[in-house]
Amino acid sequence: MKDHDARGIPHTTPRQSATFTQDANSDIRRAAATGIYDIRGGGAKRKVPHFDDLLFLGASISRYPLEGYREKCGTDVTLGGRHATNPIKLDIPITIAGMSFGALSGPAKEALGRGASAAGTSTTTGDGGMTPEERGHSSKLVYQYLPSRYGMNPDDLRKADAIEIVVGQGAKPGGGGMLLGQKISDRVAEMRNLPKGIDQRSSCRHPDWTGPDDLEIKILELREITGWKVPIYVKVAGARPYFDTTLAVKAGADVVVLDGMQGGTAATQDVFIEHVGQPTLACIRPAVKALQDLGMHREVQLIVSGGIRNGADVAKAMALGADAVAIGTAALIALGDNDPKWEAEYNALGTTAGAYDDWHEGQDPAGITTQDPDLMKRFDPVEGGRRLKNYLKVLTLEAQTIARACGKNHMHNLEPEDLVALTMEAAAMAQVPLAGTDWYPGKPNTSF
């Protein structure tokens, strides 16, 4: 490109709009060509304040550390002791979030069970019901009770180690799911009692209750059916965490699962994923405050999900008051999703490793988010389970490393006082001091 015109007048530098970015323009072109909104899987991809914006302080003269590899740092957690006679006892405070058979292949669900069980933690069913291979390979299995009630039956309910009533999901607070026709195989269709090949919609709200008073009665029914043996979780999206947590506890939940906007979904509208809900970081403290205000912190456990990637994220979520975390997207990556070894095939699908999110289309080169028999053969559930176990162990070791450095002999002893924030936004959301200060926005009895 010439830097001046024929008259010798210099061109200005071509300037891309900060508003009409290349991404935004490609969305417009796609919409104009198709007339249909973009559907994808995963969670929010936009940059939002996150655990990366927090740092641990570590030990100092006033805090002394524990010796790595020598002194014990506990990681066990008991979930659901409020009402259940058989609460869930996990070796590590990292659980596997709900993901459906249908969205994932049967072998992928098997691998999640294998890996979680080997690491001493639980896995969770999803929209579509419980498969025998999932139950068989999961030493502790949480059964999701979803609005669609696909595959829902009392026999599987009684086989579960806990029940998770799903009210909302971080990727789509207030929205239902969908599974496009190409993934409705014979088996998926049979489990969901739907015709094969249709675009299956999952309801956005439960068919037989609305509001917290009804939820309390629904929980009573589920407890009566299961003999008050297993914990009842209530999963809420990161929308109004203070009130949702309060109402879930009031309704009788043993455990509250809180899913921020970075938490993934199998498929929904991109505009929904990116524009509805709050970042995980913004949700934890309000939820913890709700529990504290009710005198229920640590009695009703809080599981946080949405963007957990490494042991530091685990430790930070727990320092802010969570009892445990759940992982979904990270677990899929550990299994092999978005692996660069499939780059040529991702390119053929118009994407690249790391960015592939059309899980609903069933063409996953890694053979994980598909029902295509040939693609599924690429995925070995035994190897996948081993990889997930390894990953869970690394997360645990990393979190322990940080906890010991903060002088904690149990992960649950981490506290907000161990943290500082790198940005004003993160300081405000996490309610920990901006680094180098003793202040955060909104701190009581202070002014800006």
């Binding site: 039956n153 009392p154 309910l157 009692n193 739907l194 090949g197 068919p207 209750w209 009665i217 629904k218």
Partner: protein, 227 residues
Amino acid sequence: MQTFDLEAQGLRALNSTLHAQAENTNQTQWEIINPKGSHAIAVGLDAPIEVNVKGSTGYYCAGMNKQATVHVHGSAGPGTAENMMSGTVIVEGDASQYAGATGHGGTLIIKGNASSRCGISMKGIDIIVHGNIGHMSAFMAQSGNIVVCGDAGDALGDSCYEARFFVRGSVKSLGADCIEKEMRPEHIAILEELLERGGCDAKASEFKRYGSARNLYNFDVDNAAAY
């Protein structure tokens, strides 16, 4: 006949006692007195027993029922026989909203009227209503049958799948993708059996059949206005 005083003995004792009945129990007849609108009465049963509830019930009576016959001698609150798998539930009076919601099988007979969202997301249950049903009934109904001897409210069968709806009276409006369909001989046969099962004094020839037009089974932007 085993008699259980719910007010005196409590809900937990009731359901645990009923759950303890095995497939071959000889205690097959149960009478529950003083239900007084309690919630979650006789939920999760899984034995061929008959339970007569002498009075009205609250939410979720006979929820997730398998095999058992639960007979409510009164009216029933929301979510009666929700997610039923098999067996029979009979309500002598009226049923509140969500009756038979997500039911997979079995028969729900309502001698009075059913409120809104009757049969919502039903997955194989047969629901026979002697009276009327309320608005948004059979929303996203997947399979099974609803028989309505009276009238149906607004938006019957909205976004339904393969469920069938037989209505003798008027339908205030049909929901998205729900249409009137031809009543062929096989449907007459199905309806006659349902009417007999439900103890209805009605003739199959008096009914019209409704079901999915199947236009919304796969997303098409040209149908966006229907959603």
